[in-house]
Symmetry: C2
Subunit: 320 residues, 2 copies
């Protein structure tokens, strides 16, 4: 497989005027509290509320005229759905999205708001991959996979390019990178770029308890699936197992995996609302939660934390 | 009075490494909805949750060694309080803050968290200015006024310098600037800088209904006080009348004043939580509210909107 920082440089040159260069912020009060210099990359402020817009925009920018005419199809619990829907709308491309019937309301509503045709399936009995492949074949639509696609991974990786750019402004070299991990596209792309620019950086995936397939797979050097029977509020990063394309990249780049519990995630969403005035969704908050709960020694270190999305139902947010 | 962009350039050179260069963001979906290009300056992400940290940091950076030893005193409903308290803590300066006994819980708690001594007063019967001046005199403490101080105005103005800097990156020239207005320090400073850089920009103050003293004063070319008997959720910008130093500056810089209602502010706080994933306090949201409710024609215009603070009690936020 041929994937490197060059794919990400190429992707950035294609999409940089279409995405938001999201802020990288540091909070003096939090830094003092943790005796560390922590930078938060705010992809919750990205268009459509998550980093997924980077990969979707990149993938669509590479479609030929025929592909565009035939349209696209994607499956997603919500953030990839909104991203593909909105990137399609901007390019006047027909878009079908396959979503689980239990997806968060805000994600379903936004996907429809962006004019995609939403097809619901029952995740307990149906395979979204099979539905997606059938529609793709029957209707000649390009299937935009959520993570197992090098163009998508390169698109997500542009967040890492921006982090480098933003740290360079202050001549800062980070020691640690913490990033959420579902299928692993975001961390594969961003860790590739950060490792290229910062040779000694230690990157960690962060996953919710019961869905630490990447951590287990990293530790056993092979793709392992999650045990059945768990649940988590972190809907955005609940995947059965690491991606076939993302895992080899992550195996090369990551030092290890960290795990956080739902109750810790809830507390950290509240902490960031109070201290950073931002709204984070559960799946987008796991890396920040790992930092707040000190799953790793950060003392006197410079740490980059990915905050990947903010699409939480406001009712749920208010309840926290 | 001698106040110009030079005061702001000087202030920035003193404080730029102590404050957050807050993001200036634009959201494609919102732009399409309003047929305009709108940029939001996120001072709710500033240290202590509002722009007030700029002015407080600047004022304190100019104190002599004796002044520092004697300490400072300030009066404030909350945002200036937190800012002065935290800037004092960073500089190991003794700090007393005079706050109304009905100040929002989050603001009072944060001020104490930053180790200031909080002195409560009853705003219906006591004058905070008199209490402040007495303590200042009796204890030789420097009184840091919330807006009627040129160093404070210059400090707040650095947010305007950053806006210029951030727009320049994309070669963008704004047509309109919307900014909240209580005592008028933030808008006096920022509008001075923006007018210096963008000769044709039209700047507007935005105030809550019943507290539009600046609009009335602008229209009658003299300082007028608010009528008695109104109330508003916009605690941060409830002031009896324009400042003696800020008003002449604003009279020179502003095209007019706009007014928004509390129910409009509530809706817009919710809108920005959904669409920008950020938490804004009522007083910090009035300029954004004026944009959302189209108090001014923005069609095909480039508009800069100041979001000045995010210190809202989370219970109140949840209720919205």
């Amino acid at each position: 497989m041929n994937f490197s920082y060059k794919n990400i440089d190429d992707a950035y040159s294609k999409i940089k005027n279409k995405i938001i260069k999201t802020p990288l912020i540091s909070n003096d009060f939090i830094n003092k509290k943790f005796d560390a210099k922590i930078f938060f990359k705010l992809e919750n402020l990205q268009t459509t509320g998550s980093f997924k817009f980077r990969g979707a925009t990149h993938k669509i920018s590479k479609l030929g005229e025929d592909d565009k005419r035939n349209g696209v199809v994607a499956y997603s619990s919500g953030n990839h759905a909104q991203a593909v829907a909105y990137a399609s709308l901007q390019n006047q491309i027909s878009c079908k999205i396959i979503m689980p019937n239990n997806a968060p309301k805000i994600k379903m509503e936004n996907t429809k708001k962006y004019k995609a045709e939403v097809i619901l399936y029952d995740p307990s009995t149906q395979s979204r991959e099979k539905i997606g492949e059938k529609i793709s074949k029957d209707e000649n639509r390009t299937l935009i996979r959520p993570y197992d696609d090098l163009d998508v991974i390169a698109g997500q990786g542009t967040a890492g390019l921006e982090i480098f750019d933003q740290l360079k402004e202050y001549n800062i070299v980070p020691d640690i990178y913490l990033c959420c991990c579902g299928g692993g596209g975001l961390i594969a792309g961003t860790s590739t770029y950060l490792k290229y620019k910062f040779k000694n950086i230690e990157s960690y995936s962060v996953e919710p308890y019961g869905f630490d397939d990447t951590k287990k797979s990293l530790n056993s050097l092979q793709i392992l699936a999650n045990e059945q029977g768990h649940s988590s509020i972190c809907d955005a990063i609940i995947t059965p197992e690491p991606g076939k394309l993302t895992f080899p990249i992550n195996l090369q780049n990551l030092k290890n995996g960290l795990v956080v519990r739902d109750d810790e995630v809830k507390s950290s969403i509240k902490f960031f609302a109070e201290h950073l005035k931002i709204i984070i969704e559960p799946g987008g908050a796991v890396a920040a939660t790992a930092a707040l709960t000190k799953k790793i020694d950060m003392k006197n270190k410079t740490v980059v934390v990915m905050i990947s999305g903010g699409n939480i139902d406001l009712d749920m947010f208010a309840n926290l």
